[in-house]
Symmetry: D2
Subunit: 381 residues, 4 copies
């Protein structure tokens, strides 16, 4: 059985380096530690080296969830639970190192949701920011603060913090599966999560369907009145179509070599600010050109990827993760990583969302190239 004293002793993180804590346990000190503990106190020096590491040491580990595994798993859920029972019928993708936080990586949550034709979940809102990236099926829709939006494969859709939202699939549609992304673990870490069920359980759309796409979707021109009056901290545009995204990447490749670490990479932006789509979650799309293999780097921030098109692999901390369409994988903060397109003829496309807006708002983004352009691959996952 664990005692507090044993717990503490296991926590003496000594380092024999000038400027680091290096205090040996003695009976006298242990008695002192016990006395402190009784007062809700503790010696900094036994844990200083742990809580102030030389560089980030995430609990999160790299993980890949392959579609060949995810699809059968999620496909059983409709047999077992209804959306009403489940609230939302979602299978979470859980990082083995972050099980307590229901996190896929860092303070980001992701899951895969499945809905059948005619199903609809009830409306709610929360402090957490949410997005989805559509995987397959037809007839899915979402209603966000009274605006109905249809969802097609690879569309990127926002349900920002504080907006009422609900999802469903038209009776004329097919079974739909999409990925959800939220910052639930961040909101909980910051003790700032709130949740409300819509007073009518479901919304009656009162705005033109796809209205935000009509108004803000042109990107380069924005409505004069709305532009002057929008005060919310997130994008007024709620859906970004895949077609335009792929075209944007393809055109950018004509004018730019992109990033040595990411190929052609572009951020989805709030068209009224040029900033991230939501204050706590950003999203990007990237294209690896045929045969492209990027260089390795590391940086702060946690990333969740979905393979939008093509096949290839990423090397994360020396381990090779092969991926193909609809696979989902994560890269923890400060993990060395690089990407490769397996095809010499077709581009590969990755969608990702991440917490870089948090890193940048708080001034803690840091980036470093590795000494060598590529990592040595130690194994294949």
């Amino acid at each position: 059985m664990d005692t507090a004293a044993e717990g503490r002793r296991r926590e003496n993180w000594r380092e024999d380096v000038a400027g680091r804590a290096n205090v040996a346990d003695t009976p006298e000190l242990e008695a002192y530690y016990d006395a402190l503990e009784a007062l809700s106190m503790g010696p900094l020096w036994t844990v200083a080296n742990k809580i102030e590491p030389w560089h980030p040491v995430p609990d999160s580990v790299p993980v890949i969830w392959r579609w060949k595994d995810v699809k059968p798993a999620i496909s059983r859920a409709p047999e077992l639970v209804t959306p009403e029972q489940a609230g939302r019928r979602v299978i979470m993708l859980v990082n083995p190192g972050r099980r307590q936080h229901a996190a896929a990586v860092g303070l980001l949550y992701t899951g895969v949701q499945i809905m059948d034709p005619g199903e609809c979940a009830s409306a709610h809102r929360h402090m957490a920011s949410a997005l989805r990236f559509i995987m397959e099926g037809s007839g899915a829709f979402t209603i966000v603060d009274g605006e109905r939006l249809s969802l097609n494969a690879r569309d990127f859709v926002l349900t920002p913090n504080g907006t009422w939202h609900e999802h469903g699939v038209d009776a004329s549609g097919t079974r739909c599966i999409w990925q959800d992304g939220l910052d639930i673990p961040l909101m909980n870490a910051l003790d700032a999560n709130f949740y409300e069920v819509h007073p009518n359980l479901n919304q009656t759309p009162h705005l033109p369907p796809e209205g935000s796409v009509a108004l803000y979707g042109a990107g380069l021109l924005q409505p004069t009145e709305a532009r002057a009056n929008w005060r919310k901290p997130y994008s007024p545009l709620l859906k970004y179509s895949w077609e335009a995204t792929e075209e944007a990447l393809t055109r950018a490749a004509r004018a730019s070599d992109g990033s040595p670490y990411d190929g052609i990479i572009m951020d989805y932006v709030n068209p009224l600010t040029g900033g991230p789509v939501m204050p706590t979650i950003g999203a990007s799309a990237q294209m690896l050109r045929p045969g492209e293999r990027t260089k390795a780097h590391r940086h702060t921030g946690s990333f969740v990827y979905q393979v939008a098109k093509g096949s290839g692999y990423s090397v994360i901390e020396g381990v090779r993760y092969d991926w193909t369409e609809r696979d989902i994988f994560v890269i923890p903060s400060w993990a060395a990583h690089e990407h490769a397109n397996a095809s010499d003829t077709d581009p590969a496309f990755l969608f990702c969302f991440h917490d870089l807006p948090v890193m940048r708002s708080l001034g803690i983004f840091r980036e470093a190239a590795l000494d060598e352009p590529h990592q040595t691959i130690t194994r294949t996952a």
Copy 2:
């Protein structure tokens, strides 16, 4: 002959209103004023009511320059001067009240430039911000900081402050005419104008042609690296095509009633900030739906319009100005104005540029509806 004293006397702006200056001239005071003048001083009270008016009293007057007059006028220029001689072969549109400032309205300059196939003007840069809106012809191009851009009818093109730029028409093209817009009078009013001729007289393009359109033209997705590193105060996107503009307005009309004063109106934005395209000049496009007549309002800011498509009229301070394609007209600050589409079947489109970014940066934008929705039309211009 004018004497200083006579000049001053004509300037006693008395008002018989409590709180306003109301000092009668007397021989004693006139002697005092003469003494002050010799010391580069003067009484505030003789001019206070003039320099602190109840509301803006622009020197600018509303003017329309009709294409039927402008085209023949500009078309004579190529017979008379070369681009080399002229620097730029441009006919200025000069407000009768702003002749000294070479201004079309307020502190905005506009002119109409003409170039024949094979012609090219030399490269320069200046503190003034510049834009152009293409009127007719094919084969025109501009080179901005090493990027070559082709110019087609109704394209909106930037040559921001401090960028090297030059214009020409391909030998295979046709005679081209476009409208230039600049803030030259503003730069001069602020004593901040600078001008440089390119050391080589002409640029050798070193960037991909239309590169900024390829990189930034998607609007909703922006290149990750460039987005993080752009420090200039203007849009990195240098050309906004008309086709996308008309489509944006048409789609916005499906989701919005627009503005009661302007119909469907959208601002061209810097995609990296959502702000105006340049720090001192903004631009907008608006659509008047078939049969639409907007309500009257007034606001600070000076506006230069070009009719992009269709026919209609604007009522400015009670005077009706009928307009059709390529006509150019101006609305001075605080002038009451409203717009009407003359067609019951086709939309009309107006392009405009203005100094609203200055009004907003300096905190001096002010707007008021009129008591009545429409002005009484006192005459037709």
Copy 3:
């Protein structure tokens, strides 16, 4: 012994409310959950109500550490460890609910440091932002990026993220004790912590002593050059004296009734931006006037208080915490709280630091008054 299945079962957070997850465990579902778990997946619905609570449910609890307990505890440390061994000779104040994170409340760390005359710790820097509030003793100093600052009772001192810093006490001084505040738990939660030991172990000051106080300490006038060129995300002023703080509060009370919830409360600001002193930690000082008892409210954000002067009590979630000079107490996010000055003749002063800059940057500050002005006191801590 715990099995994963048992662990999960304990985690079925059902709620019998429309719109909330409410799925009963069945053998079939449990088998499904086991299968998911093997794939690093899990059902959202068993934990949805837990991870998306109706309102924040912090692990942190209110705690008070009284000086009468803290002083003897910290005073033993010099007998037991040297600064060299300990890195820093600090006793952490650890929230019983946040022991794993070494947090005093939320994602904020605090501790009490002690140094004897002639002692000096080595220089380091880290991504975590740090501050201190001086409790007692004379002759303490800190060196921040080459600037030496002396520390006197109740001075508030910054060692912002990324600055080299070290602390010591002059040989001619007395034993010194101060409170440290850092966002170490936040940096770890965000996987963004870094640490470096100074290459020379100690800095040689190369800037004028107290130079930032001389340059930026006037507040209302700021050096023209520095103001135009400062790019760092934190205040260039590194020390805020108590004398000026107490005077500011006393003068503000002449012109303002202050806040119904906090009395006369003012924020320490970065004089170059008017914003918080560091991007992740803000600090405030407040005065409770003689006899003042504030109203109760709750809001997001975690707070660490030190009683700077006087005596009184705070009611936190119905529990009364009496406090006097140098006592330290914490208020978790969303906890109802109110403050009272125990004296009818003298003001009481509280210093506090908090994560409101994070709440505001991320758009997650939320505040609510209670229905009643005061809480019912259920017990005294």
Copy 4:
């Protein structure tokens, strides 16, 4: 008599430089120009070199108004007009090159106001931003949006755009003289001036006297509530005392060598933003140390100086202007200038206000050192 044609001919600004306009007048062209003029058009090339100069060519000239001249001039005004008649009893200081704009330099206005004990002018507000710097006398006060402020020698006081304000001298005071500074010419150049007389002609103060000084005057601490809620574009602090200003400069000199061009120079800041006190006018105070002579530079922006203390001289475009206490002088945009303290024992202090906030908001600040550290003095003014 002038004809339009003659007017134009005088305006052919030819330059024999590649890239500049260089078109000789010919009878054919002159006929063309006449035809254009009749259509409110004109050739750009005859004026291009004038309106796009190589660098700013201000109409403003350097001027000094010496107290020995100003004091007798303003002192006669009370015998000749009452404040009621005059609105405000002010003698303008008018730049010989800017007489039409009632400007002292660039688009800045300045004047000297005089009031006798018991006098009070009526309340008004305007879009122009205003400030004053007190020269002599006791008992003066101003009321700004309901807050009464007493004015003492060298105090710097704001009456920002849109605030109701009025000035007076207590019956128990002495004759008071102060300098007014406004951006009236800027507001008129931008066609954005508005003026209103207070409905009651005078305000009844409803806020604590000197309340903004009590609340915001501490600089380094700002009231929490007000800080979060202030939305106006100017400083909430309305008075900056000279005593604190002189102390700030004196202390800064201990930690900084200041600017090679300006000595120890500091900006008055809005304590809620660290930015300029008003969106269109900034203010600075500078100290020239005993014997100090600064280096010469030039930059955009117009400046109005008042000598707060001491004696010295400035060299502006090669002309030496000796100055002593209360003298007022102006430096136009892009004029080369440098300053010298005439005393080897005492510091000299200059107050100035300027339009740098406009230069910076619009992105048109530019600065250059001269090739030589000092100008050759060609004459003494």
